[in-house]
Subunit: 247 residues, 2 copies
């Protein structure tokens, strides 16, 4: 089997360490910033910080798992008997993806009934999406990967449709000062989420072996930073602005 | 290859440990001090603490990487197969340098539009500067190092010009009690930042081998302590004084 080279090993290591730093910094920023928003929006900011905290924990595990999976020798990089644990990502997403959708809904400040019904529908679809993606991720058979990719894309498309059709009315009822920002937050969710199915299919498009491993790991890391840390700060900014205008 | 001696190994180790202590202490000071400033300046102090927290994390990694890169034997210091990871510094700067400029702008308490436009311009230039410096840092070829040094100096000079021309009006509109301090904070930024390009060119000036490694590591560490911890405490002092005068 072809092995990753030293540059690839180090690039992935540095990307994971970068993610640890970003997720940790975002968590502290959001937990401290929580005191700066109106009571109505505190839960949205709390959950944003919890999402980055969960990701901080998992990137620490992922970093350690990556170090344990390879040994650097004087002649290059060799694999150890310990396999790199891909499951950490899926365990992370199982928790964080439903929570990310809740952040978005909570910061809108809808009625309790609407929050609960939209939250339940989106969170359930998010859990289904992650669970359906995992059997494909751990498979080396291209046909299997495609099958689970298609199955996971059903809840994915459902979520995107829900975000665009179901939330348009809610967004139009937002105070004018934040309407554009809330709409941008929705767009950021959808755009950052599009990374994942694309990264997933890279190995199926003939980008094989060590390059594929490197692209997949760096790609997911960038997607996670955008979808969790950047998105969280964005939700915080919306909450601050709504708090100022007493909306 | 000439190897660093025991004194050099220990000096660098102790400098890194010193940085861990300073960055950790500054983080706690700034996070606790956050409650003492007016709401308007809380984000500036939060970000100051996040910068030192990110640096604290990276100095921990740098310290561990330094220990893993060398073995102390009865006859001296020998290198292990694990290379010292220089990338931690650049990953750190990629995050902290834009944030440092944001601190300075946020503590000025400008209008939202001015804060956003000045923040975006300076942060983008800061990211470009760090990204352009890295290929030079990891190169052993003097010509390559000079090339990337010159390229990184373009955004560097842009930032310095922006700080002096673009912020002079903003500084003159500060309340009199803090005008000098804000101006000093700007000067401190520029002066502490001048360390970096100088440290970068040490290996190109014939200060070679183990001396160069030692000077570069100790030099960057001192620069980081001034530019992050000392600067952060300075920003806090400005925020306290502005809060007292209700400015």
């Amino acid at each position: 089997m072809e092995m990753i080279n030293l540059e690839q090993f180090e690039l992935v290591s540095n990307a994971f360490s970068f993610a640890i730093a970003v997720m940790g910094a975002a968590t502290v920023f959001l937990f401290l910033g929580r005191s700066q928003v109106a009571p109505k929006y505190k839960t949205a900011v709390t959950i944003s910080g919890i999402v980055t905290l969960i990701a901080f924990y998992h990137y620490w595990r992922i970093f350690d798992s990556w170090q344990a999976a390879y040994t650097v020798t004087s002649t290059g990089v060799t694999a150890t008997v310990t396999k790199f644990n891909d499951a950490y990502r899926y365990v992370d997403w199982l928790l964080t993806v439903p929570l990310l959708l809740l952040e978005l809904i909570l910061v809108m400040g809808l009625s309790r009934e609407e929050t609960v019904s939209k939250g339940k529908a989106l969170a359930t679809a998010a859990v289904a999406m992650v669970l359906l993606g995992y059997p494909g991720e751990i498979s080396n058979i291209t046909g299997e990967r495609w099958k689970w990719w298609f199955l996971a894309m059903i809840p994915f498309v459902y979520i995107v449709i829900k975000l665009f059709s179901g939330l348009t009315k809610a967004i139009n009822s937002q105070p004018e000062s934040v309407r554009q920002m809330v709409s941008d937050a929705r767009t950021l969710t959808v755009l950052s989420w599009c990374f994942y199915p694309v990264v997933f299919i890279l190995p199926m498009l003939g980008v094989g072996g060590p390059e594929s491993t490197t692209y997949v790991q760096v790609g997911y890391t960038i997607a996670d930073i955008v979808a969790k840390a950047l998105f969280g700060v964005f939700i915080f900014a919306v909450a601050v602005r709504k708090s100022e205008s007493n909306a």
